[in-house]
Amino acid sequence: MKTWTLSAALRQWGTFLGLLAIVLFFAWRLPETFPTAQNFLNISQQISMLAVVAFTMTIVMVMNDFDLSVGSTASLAGIVAAALFAAGQPVWVGVSAALAVGLLGGAFNGFLVAYIGILPFIATLGTLTMFSGAAFMVSDGKTIFGRDIPAEFAGFARFGIPLDAIGLDGAKLPLMTIAAVIVLLVVWLLLEQTTFGRRLYAIGGNRVAAELAGINTRRLRLIAFGLTGLGAAVAGLMYASRVASANPTQGAGLMLDAIAAVFLGMTMGREGEPRVLATLVGVLILGILDNGLTQMNVDSYVREVLIGAIVVSAVAISAVGQRRT
């Protein structure tokens, strides 16, 4: 039965309303510092790395898979680029090598999952450890920083497009933000507007049925995991550029936040399916909470408890709502 009801609408848009509520709350408590163009630009830069990982994580989660290894892929990619810089290679060599590492690492996950038939949880837990160990091996366990990192690489995270023209004197739209928006557009086009993406949703809907109806599920899963790995590598490079250094653990925090962001977004799907624009809402919720709570001087441990509780309750409300309908 197709009837529009308030409760159904609330369930689907509840997470988005939650985001608005969070924004209004901080605007009320922090009228001086929160609702300013400069702060929003800061937030967009702060969340850009998480956003890239979460957007590309959505690609595998569309198929009901997920990838635990993105954090260590990001670290490894940063380390590989930095090690090549330290060895005197030009920026483009380091960056391409790092992206290749991400793509191949992701494809290896896909190979384990799709062709060998290991559960994604186990396969990517294993590669998480492998990639993390590899990052330590390449870097000898040390942080690569200082003169080893070329200025033009580190500069990427510092530059932005001046916004004087639209009346925001002195403000700049960070290149990091632009990079995240580009990734968002690419993933959105891929998932929503191409045959490739539609097939991924079909696999997520019923993998056995998809296989029997002539979809090459193995190859598609391999490619999807490869793209997730590539996204993780992009985020790893952005991170390394931002802190102008690379250490073998710096991507570690990205994985759980990225999965949380996709789950938050999934509460907005009609059938609980991931959509990349919904993932963006999830990323914004996490990023804005972090920014606002920090400005309110909330203790960082308390912050973690709060953010975790918000994720759990959003998903719980959606689960209860879905059971009702």
Partner: protein, 500 residues
Amino acid sequence: MQTLRFQGLTKAYGGVPALSDVTLSLSCGRVHALMGENGAGKSTLIKLIAGVVAADQMTVLRDGAVVPLRTAAEATKAGFRFIHQELNIVPQLSVAENVLLGHPAPHRFGAFIDWRSLEDRAASALAFLGAEHIDVRQQAGAMATGDRMLTRIASALVADAGAAEPCLYVFDEPTAALTVTESTKLFDVIARLKERGAAVLYVSHRMNEVLQICDDVTVLRDGRHVLTTQIAKTSSAEIIEAMTGKPVSDTIPGRTAPVRQRIACRLTTLTTRDLSGLDLSLAQGEILGVAGLDQGGQTAFLRLILGQGRIQKGLLEVLGGRAPKSPEQAWARGIAYVPRERRSQGLMLGMGVRPNTLFPHLGDYGFLAQKRSEVARTRTLADQVRLRFQGTEQPVGQLSGGNQQKVLFARAIAKNPKLLLLEEPTRGVDVGARAEIHGLIRTLSNSGTAVILASSDLVELCGLADRILILQGGRQVAVVDRQAMTPADLLSRIYAPEAV
């Protein structure tokens, strides 16, 4: 107990009536069939008397005395037992544990499970069903479907101390997942329950089963009661008319165009892991039936042609070339497949009619999706299969079983397949949809599509197929001509293929 009367059953979901003032009277020692098309209210009726869904109105009378029935626990206490088509066993546990599942397990010293007594109770319940061959210690997941069904029934038989003796057994489409032999065993069990003096409510779409094992029949249509009578005093035509509200001939349309000369598929002394001795060919426009016993290799046979088997010996030619190596290649070459389990193997239940119909054919649209032309194509195909739906984006999980099956057909015929593989195409489908699907298969065949039809519905096989391949344990034992073959003849060939 002599009679059980469910009076004035009424239920509406969100203002839409699902069941309106239906009364059902059951007598002990009799099997009562409940029939109706999908959506007629059978499931709602069962949910009400199981106490799973709260009725808007319902009175339950046992020999004239009121029985309270508001929760599932009260239904169990009243002695009602339910056996559903989905076989809810826990595959990791032993058969004995499954039989006693939901019952308090016998204990020793008040703390440890008394395994011996638990196994004894399970074994005696199975013995009553004539299923002594089941080892109660084995893992339940290792059993075939028929034995799982027996385990479920045994579980329903177990009566706890203090609770009433089971007095009503409700079977909801029990044979949907069973083969012919397994169904026969089930009918024996039902006969025993009947002798024991229990009332049995039997829900099924399969007319021949109902005529064979039931004593009375009640027909629902659109949530209302239309007919209750003794089986002996009625006919399948009368029942079908009551179900559909219009006279429907159960006859399957005959061939109107000859079988073509061109060969669609040829198997020469073919052996795979699951199949052996396959030697036959199939012409364009021909319908080859496939029949057999318990997992006799029907699925493996169709999947082989779909590109999912490894040929060990022999030769398989399909559509003038070599065998496809994957389902992807098979679909690309004009082979379409309607799988056995539409929910688990066929459909993305949460997704709309449009993606479900078109996703094997997305390649036709190039790299970028083109929603408008997809919607138009979906509508055309839906018309062709006479799909009843609310829109191309309606999730298929909301459609009735018959309409879900039609979505699979729409998907299969989208590109005029040269070879169509069908597995149980009308299982769990109401009479009207069944006739429409049969008409569709005949039309495709007349237009030159070669069809391989695996079915446990013998009426369907004899009515549609030109020849019937009989498999036993994956081995080809016969290819019989349909000419002058009745379902009864076919049944005897399946049971004793070598005897002929």
